[in-house]
Symmetry: C2
Subunit: 222 residues, 2 copies
Amino acid sequence: MPGTVAKPGSRLERRRAQTRGALIEAAQRLLAAGRSTVSVLEITQHADVGMGSFYNHFESKEELFAAAVDAAMERHGDLLDALTTGVEDPAEMFARSFRLTGRMQRRYPELTRVLLSRGAAMIVSDRGLAPRALRDITAGKAAGRFTVRDPQLALVAAGGALLGLSQLLESDPGRDGGRDADILAEDLLRMLGVPADEARESCARPLPDLAGLGEDIPPAIA
Amino acid sequence: MPGTVAKPGSRLERRRAQTRGALIEAAQRLLAAGRSTVSVLEITQHADVGMGSFYNHFESKEELFAAAVDAAMERHGDLLDALTTGVEDPAEMFARSFRLTGRMQRRYPELTRVLLSRGAAMIVSDRGLAPRALRDITAGKAAGRFTVRDPQLALVAAGGALLGLSQLLESDPGRDGGRDADILAEDLLRMLGVPADEARESCARPLPDLAGLGEDIPPAIA
């Protein structure tokens, strides 16, 4: 129903939201399976919605894919915020976020594949993890904890390292994701200007129990 | 002519190499234009070769695209090797390579777009820049110049940072690519374990004159 304005909370609005959600979930599944060349018709079949519904929500397949990855990244960022609650030191905050995010590839390989399929665009996105990381790096510089000259470039390095780590873990199932995330977080702390011994110590600290939190996490991708 | 074995140096072999080269160049142009969903037929039309020729050389579009990016990266790596000839210190070698590569986005935006379209896969590739960077990082660790615990992870960070920088420069035409490459190289030297003041000094040194070398560089993408 193009042009129809749904009243907030109305049945029509709820149905529209359901359709949009079904399209986004289908897109996430297809992206995770590496099927980005799929047609709009196939997407609507996967989502079990009418072909015409698609264009009530998205102008193109690319727009849907972008929304699908954005939604996955926002969910991941919310998870990360929850897992770093109560951390005061910017260095500890950064290290914990990076160590936890690096572990996500082994925990949610499908989600990670969606992010990887988007490539480096996620590093300059104004949604998801990038703005959160920039916020933390900027705060660390303001507090004198980090010595980097340009937080935007430090973000690019950290985001790129995360992307690279995810790709490495995806490509090499034998690697220990936790160990690799910890070593890389330590490397990045040094890059940010944290002394080597402090960086080492920070990245050896226990992490929040992911297993315990796991039940609250919605399945990344159905 | 599937199954035909061409004698080395024969006219048939030369023609095969020409056809393969035309397909790879067409693929590089199409990738650079963001047209990765193009059909095999369109690719052969762009390359001005017969549709049947395609499958004498590649099993799929994806295989051709991979070869196209590999060829671009090998050429870039050869260029980099030429531009770091005579450098002895691993830290200086790494810094110069990174600073020169970071500048390539502004110099050859089309080549960079091909690399970006491949995403993080380039970071774990056994061709192009990745093996060269791993070689340099490993040498620096062996020489005691770098203190990183796992050269493979340091490579992932450096490769990811390069990918992120390229994406940032592509997304923001106003940024100074040379300045950004220098600051990021300095950040990465600290990550590798080089003292901050040395890192700063190393990345402020003059670079080989790219303009003078430019005439020897084949156009990245026609």
